[in-house]
């Protein structure tokens, strides 16, 4: 125990304070109007409206999945990001009277999905159009779920396939086979070993952190946008630390690395 912090965690605690502080300060500045950060365009998220419009025009459903998302695993935050985008998509679908089918993977998020979609339909003023049957549970195991989604896509001839959340091997199964229904495909994940498949097989791909930023990006409210500005500060901090550490090590000074190891 050093300064009351467990061994080997002092540096990470300091870094945590720095990252969280940067996030909160940027969020506060943007919320109180002292700063107006502008977000660059994320093509994948802009394409959601186009996809819903196409689904309405062709009278065919939109299929939406949040990968093997649950809340009891370490990648729960990707599921939350996927559910937030589901709220946005459901609101658009309600407004344009398009049918949105969502396939939850882990049973723990079924109530959350109903909650998010119902609120979206209420926001769009179409609360009576919300139908719980459009949330189809497929068993909660990786490949039966993937094959179930695949079958539904081809039977319904979906006009748009949206995949936002943690994916594993089923990413390519869904995005490659989904291509042949003629659908627009928008996919994003922060499981870095699967991003390559979405980049290759889908029309639009969200890469890693873009999935996390989607909720804030789509909400367009200054508070959330502020935190994205804060995340840029945190990245600059990481880059600065990296350059500093590399130069110091090259110069033979190990002070920074010793602090990291504290």
């Amino acid at each position: 125990m050093i300064y009351g912090i467990n061994d080997g965690l002092v540096a990470s605690f300091v870094l945590l304070i720095v990252v969280v502080a940067e996030g909160l300060i940027a969020l506060y500045l943007s919320r109180t109007g002292r700063a107006h950060p502008k977000i660059r365009k994320i093509a994948g998220l802009e394409a959601i409206e186009e996809a819903v419009g196409r689904a309405t025009e062709m009278g065919r459903p939109i299929t939406y999945t949040t990968g093997l998302g649950g809340i009891r695993d370490q990648v729960y935050y990707q599921t939350i990001a996927g559910l937030n985008i589901l709220g946005y998509t459901a609101e658009l679908a309600a407004k344009y009277n398009a049918r949105l089918i969502y396939f939850p993977y882990d049973p723990t998020i079924i109530p959350m999905a109903v909650d998010v979609m119902e609120q979206a339909y209420i926001r769009a003023g179409k609360s009576e159009a919300f139908n719980r049957d459009n949330i189809q549970y497929l068993g909660g195991d990786q490949f039966p779920w993937a094959f179930g989604v695949l079958g539904a896509m081809h039977r319904e001839q979906s006009a748009a396939n949206i995949h936002m959340g943690p994916f594993w091997a089923e990413s390519l199964i869904l995005s490659e086979s989904g291509f042949y229904t003629g659908a627009i495909q928008i996919a994003g994940t922060a499981n870095y070993h699967q991003i390559a498949f979405f980049v290759v097989a889908a029309d639009y791909a969200l890469i890693g952190e873009e999935l996390m930023a989607a909720g804030a990006y789509l909400s367009k409210d200054p508070t959330s946008i502020g935190s994205l500005w804060g995340s840029d500060w945190a990245k600059i901090t990481s880059i600065a630390l990296t350059i500093l550490a590399v130069l110091l090590t090259a110069a033979g000074v190990t002070a920074l690395l010793d602090f990291f190891a504290l």
């Binding site: 080997g8 695993d73 490949f143 594993w168 091997a169 042949y180 499981n191 870095y192 070993h193």
Partner: protein, 287 residues
């Protein structure tokens, strides 16, 4: 069939071609030679460097779907550990890994090894340890709180290997992680190795599906992972080394030949697709 259309071949013909290309070597093997990669070599050398009596954790964290890659890796390493007289504590953080771990132990240690004299002294099988990464963290902090009983319900207090020697991560000499996703090698790094003295105290070797290897490379370059068996090729290389060292059967020959033909065919698809694409673009046609 104009030249341009070779960039638009119906996918079903490609599937039939792939089916044929992979089936041929399985029916009549071509016996292509295989180079030993240094990722696999490091796993073999680290295991060889352990002395008799060291404790190795064999963690079966995969399901039947990735069995073709993970099972030969795990069985080979188990055989190697037994040949070197290492003490093996096997377990599974995936429910679907438990029956597979049991099967591998029976193949290496004998049909009903749980009744043999060795059991509890030099080999223990805990079976499914629940809790995913939380279970790993608890197992690393204190093996008995993670699971009070072994795979068949006997309490750990009756097994000398668990009661006296293997009580927490400080006692692990090597963690062999047979992984195909989460929880897997990165959770072992974060929740066991990271909390108990880093790579020098708890070295990790990983046998993984080839897909997850590219994702763990930065943990390999940072030394957090010592060596990697990379999918089927890794299993074949390890079997090859064991075959030379201990006469272990080398079964992956036909599979690796089929691999090569599959790869060549996909390369041909890519080249074909691009030739067609460039020709149509140069003719000003719509791509």
């Amino acid at each position: 069939m104009s030249i341009g259309s070779i960039s638009k071949i119906d996918r079903r013909y490609l599937y039939i071609l792939l089916f044929i290309a992979v089936s041929i070597p399985l029916l009549s093997p071509l016996k292509l030679p295989i180079p030993i990669g240094e990722h696999a070599k490091r796993v073999y050398d680290l295991t060889e460097s352990l002395t008799a009596g060291d404790i190795v954790i064999e963690s079966f964290d995969f399901g039947p779907s990735t069995r073709p890659e993970n099972y030969p890796q795990a069985k080979g390493h188990l055989f190697h550990a037994r040949e070197l007289g290492l003490k093996v504590v096997a377990l599974a953080f995936w429910p679907s890994g438990a029956p597979i771990g049991e099967e591998a132990l029976r193949e290496v240690y004998g049909a009903d090894f749980e009744h043999s004299s060795e059991y509890g002294q030099t080999v223990v099988y805990l079976g499914y340890v629940p809790g995913n990464e939380v279970g790993m963290q608890t197992f690393g902090d204190d093996t008995s709180t993670a699971k009070g009983t072994d795979h068949w319900g006997t309490s750990l207090t009756d097994l000398p290997l668990m009661r006296d020697e293997c009580r927490s991560a400080e006692d692990f000499d090597l963690w062999a992680e047979w992984a195909s996703g989460t929880p897997g090698e990165q959770q072992v790094i974060q929740f066991v190795q990271g909390r108990h003295g880093g790579p020098s105290a708890v070295p990790i070797v990983v046998g993984a599906t080839a897909v997850s290897v590219s994702g763990m490379m930065n943990f390999y370059t940072s030394g957090q992972i010592y060596g990697i068996l990379n999918g089927l090729a890794g299993a074949g290389e390890y079997e090859f080394m064991l075959n030379i060292g201990y006469g272990y059967p080398y079964e992956q020959g036909p599979s690796l030949d089929a691999q090569s033909l599959g790869h060549v065919l996909i390369l041909a698809f890519i080249v074909l697709g691009n030739i067609g694409y460039l020709l149509t673009r140069s003719k000003g046609g719509k791509s």
